[in-house]
Symmetry: C2
Subunit: 587 residues, 2 copies
């Protein structure tokens, strides 16, 4: 894809450029962030030069007072920070900060980081509880988590405090969005721009720690919750962390698709009520699934529990990965779980938040595999990889070799520089009925605690940890309160959700029934969709035959059929047709 | 209900009135039409005076040239007939004409009728193929059928010819809506106002006799098809009638809900593609079901076939009747076949076409019971009623006594003034497996022809015809190409479609399963909803119990339950809750 959208050129601040937009800077910032993650693991001279050049360009657009937003600088300088509800300025600032931090970690260069510290200081001079400052916060959360990253990279606690202010100010009365509207001479009642519930949409209806249910715009929600979790971790604020835990549990127990997608409704790109998870009209924005990964990842830092890492894995292999086509050039904005055949990935979107979000997540995937705490390392994801960690003062190399998620074996080499006593905590995936673990060929017994199996011993260079997962294709049901899935089931294998596409089944998938008592065959197809396991299952085709009347007393005839399922992430990469994750069952 | 909307006052043509609207005249016209139908069967002095008064008021608003539209006369006289696509002027004219014809038949007074003849003549001076005339037709069909009524009432063939012109001009190239837009200085490409398929939406995409599939805005469609059928009947145009038959068959075979509702999608209030009949989001506008009744009724005049009268009955008892609440004060605009509990009737709509449409249909219901041709009378509907007909020169009184659709017996008294030989053709309902017919106690055998059982004999005053229908509650399936209903079934009894409401079943209805092999119990509940038969059926509740995880391998538990169904038309008259016509089945 090579399409000029003016997003990079915008930083030249030319008046002739027609493509300025309040939040376009954020898309480019995410690209820089992704490029920096890539440089950190895969050095590339050309990319490195390009990054240097564009970082200079970005920094050059900063105003002397620290402010940086190409749209407002060029098009509407007198409107700066006058409409936080709509204008995404702090959101864009947050993405620039995330990019700067990534750039600093990848290159060691401080130019972008320091520019963003100046920007944060400028923001701090404008917003806060002190007299003379605006008590505002952004209509689209993002800066909260970015400021914590800036704090961690710079060591400057004032950025954590600014983040903490944004988190805690949100939702208080009088509503800031009302106050600023009145200042603009507008009627605050016109605020409910989006839906009748504009405030909850923007996470501005009540103070965050009073929130009991996930709601509103899903991306805004999980970005905010991520920032909340960051602040809670850094400040030790238990009440705030409790709110995060409550919101996380509410999502995974009542509002998450089996793919890890969230935000069921298109209107407002929002969460619906509990257990309302429509399939064909599922919004499940790619960015929201990514935001959920980020939120879960932050929860996991604070609290080792496989419910978080299971959620990360679920979203990564399904609702996030589905966001991009096999050739990497086409993107879903929304990721429905059923289609009549008309939903397809596109090259680009006017609001193109998702594509660069996928890029930065995949480029930073390595950061999701492990976490360490004291003399323990937790293995969250099973992924072929090499890592160098430090455990209680000892440098430890860890490498994984695995064909996961197709293969069910993982070989982990654990090599401390000198023999050392530490714990390796293996995630026991929620989807896995049984796993066996060996260290240097010897069986390990143990009970998982909150989904992690700890192996504490004296580790020496070259120790081999091998895991075999019980990973058959299996049938999955929804809690029947999900009315859309009553009488339906889905197939999974390991972390992968499967789906039925018309192209494999030669029939509209809504006329297929899955037999409940079934032996699912797993067949690896090296030549299909880049190499995937497909599933074969017994089922039925509801045959319309030569039915004459639209309605009759004759029960439709069932014709035995072998059904074929492919991984959900890989759908819509072949001939267009209907698709369903949840198939009707015949008991 | 007593709400002032300015629709009557508009005819005073006061500039101070703020409530003018291009098609508001049509709503009041439908009210007058309904009142006149009522006067025709149920004389009422007060109503009669009111009608006289308002008819005078309406006629007083007519301009000297014959034109009558309060909005354009007062608000925008220079725009008259400049935007047929949007402005509904000819549509409103058509409704005024229908009202005038009803007024003439009910009262014998010609003032309204003649005013409307002048209006039609004015329209004829503006539109037509002759040089200097506009080759236009209305964006919303209606005048076509109205002009045929005007022709029948006045005997003036020029009105039939004008109708014929409107029917046949429609959809020709260059598209009139393009031509008039250019004349207004607008870009014809901006025409696709409504959807990307603005032309099909307005039945303006191709000449009517080339149409093979029902499509576009459902009300516009069936109003047009009704006019086409009228013109075909009066002119003997076989090709045109063939198009009508094709379109009718397409509707009932692929695009009609089991309730007789049509127009599946809200966007454009339009037909969807064949077999796409979503339940919860069904639009199925009340006016569209009424329009379908009108269309079927016209087809039946030309061609005695019970597919037409079955369709009329289906719509009347289900998709039309659901449009009004039990107390007659609340109305559905759209009539979905499933609800999560949030869909309710309202007192009024800004666009209030449906309520007066229901009124005029119910007030003229008597006209749908019989039709005569030569020395035969066909009985289309089984309804307690009395009628005076003329068969081959003999006056015949017919009365029906029946508890239908609750009871399954109909007693018809046939009383010619003198004994006469003629045929009584009884509709053999499509839903009925078996019926028995007796004349004066003696069994009649015979084979129905196109759904009508003819009894030719010498009838004498007081002859008794008794019919007993086999009318058990029965299970109904959709053609499985209706993907939304695969794995589901509905219950019917006689012409009535049933539904399951949460209030009777104490559970969200989407968690109920209907047992296929079932004995349905019919219980008459005199005190319920004005007296209805309810159905009891064996089924199951899918129990969420204390399920911990949103997704798991545990199949939901089924708990045996006796399910209760009520007639669909009566839903949403009690406590709000979920509703479904098509219930999941357990085989």
């Amino acid at each position: 894809m090579c399409r000029k959208t003016g997003r990079i050129r915008a930083f030249r601040l030319e008046k002739s450029n027609k493509n300025y937009h309040p939040y376009f800077d954020s898309d480019f910032a995410k690209w820089i962030e992704a490029a920096c993650y890539s440089l950190a693991t895969t050095p590339d001279k050309n990319l490195s030069k390009t990054v240097d050049r564009v970082v200079k360009l970005v920094v050059s657009a900063q105003r002397p007072n620290g402010y940086l937003n190409t749209y407002f600088t060029v098009k509407n300088p007198s409107y700066v920070f006058k409409d936080l509800r709509e204008q995404h300025e702090l959101y864009s600032a947050g993405h620039l900060m995330e990019a700067a931090v990534a750039h600093f970690y990848a290159t060691g260069k401080r130019n972008f980081l320091e520019a963003m510290m100046r920007y944060a200081d400028y923001i701090s001079s404008v917003f806060g509880r002190e007299k003379g400052k605006k008590r505002g916060y952004c209509g689209h959360p993002e800066i909260e988590l970015a400021l914590v990253k800036l704090y961690r990279a710079s060591g400057e606690r004032r950025f954590l405090e600014l983040s903490s202010y944004f988190v805690n100010e949100r939702g208080r009365k009088p509503y800031y969005f009302d106050v600023e509207a009145s200042k603009r001479g507008e009627d605050p009642a016109a605020y409910e721009w989006w839906t009748k519930n504009g405030y909850p949409e923007m996470q501005a209806h009540k103070p965050v720690r009073e929130q009991k249910e996930a709601g509103g715009h899903a991306v805004r929600a999980v970005y905010l919750y991520s920032g909340m979790a960051d602040v809670a971790e850094e400040t030790g604020d238990k009440a705030l962390f409790g709110a995060c835990r409550r919101l996380f549990d509410d999502i995974i127990n009542t509002k998450m698709y089996v793919t890890g997608g969230i935000g069921a409704v298109k209107k407002g790109e929002a969460f619906s009520t509990a257990y309302d998870l429509p399939n064909e009209t599922a919004y499940a924005e790619t960015c929201a699934a990514i935001g959920l990964v980020n939120f879960a990842h932050r929860m996991l830092r604070k609290e080792l529990d496989s419910k978080y890492s299971d959620c990360i894995e679920r979203a990564l292999y399904n609702g996030v990965l589905s966001g991009v086509s096999r050739n990497g050039r086409l993107f879903f904005y929304d990721n429905p779980l059923a289609s009549s055949g008309k939903h397809h990935r596109k090259e680009w979107y006017d609001c193109s938040c998702c594509p660069p979000n996928i890029a930065r997540l995949f480029a930073s995937l390595g950061g999701y595999i492990y976490s360490t705490k004291g003399s323990a390392v937790a293995v969250h994801l099973y992924l072929g990889s090499e890592a160098n960690l430090e455990l209680g003062g000892t440098a430890v190399s860890i490498s994984q070799k695995t064909g996961y998620p197709w293969g069910n074996r993982v070989l982990i080499s654990v090599s401390p520089e000198v023999p050392a006593r530490f714990t390796v905590k293996l995630r026991y995936p929620g989807w896995c009925g049984k796993l066996s673990v060996k260290v240097n060929g010897k069986n390990i017994k143990g009970t998982a605690k909150r989904g992690y199996l700890g192996i504490e011993r004296l580790w020496s260079a070259g120790d081999k940890l091998s895991i075999v997962f019980d990973m058959p294709a299996r049938i999955v049901y929804s809690d029947p309160r999900v009315r859309q899935n009553v009488g339906r089931a889905a197939l999974m294998k390991g972390p992968l959700v499967y789906c039925f596409e018309e192209v494999d089944n030669r029939a509209p998938v809504e006329s297929l029934l899955l037999q409940v008592n079934n032996k699912f065959r797993v067949i690896h197809k090296a030549g299909l969709l880049g190499g995937v396991d497909i599933l074969k299952a017994k089922g039925f085709l509801v045959n319309s035959g030569r039915q004459k009347q639209l309605y009759s007393g004759e029960a439709p005839k069932l014709e035995a059929r072998v059904l074929t399922a492919i991984p959900y992430f890989a759908w819509d990469n072949r001939k267009a047709g209907s698709m369903a994750v949840w198939l009707r069952v015949k008991s």
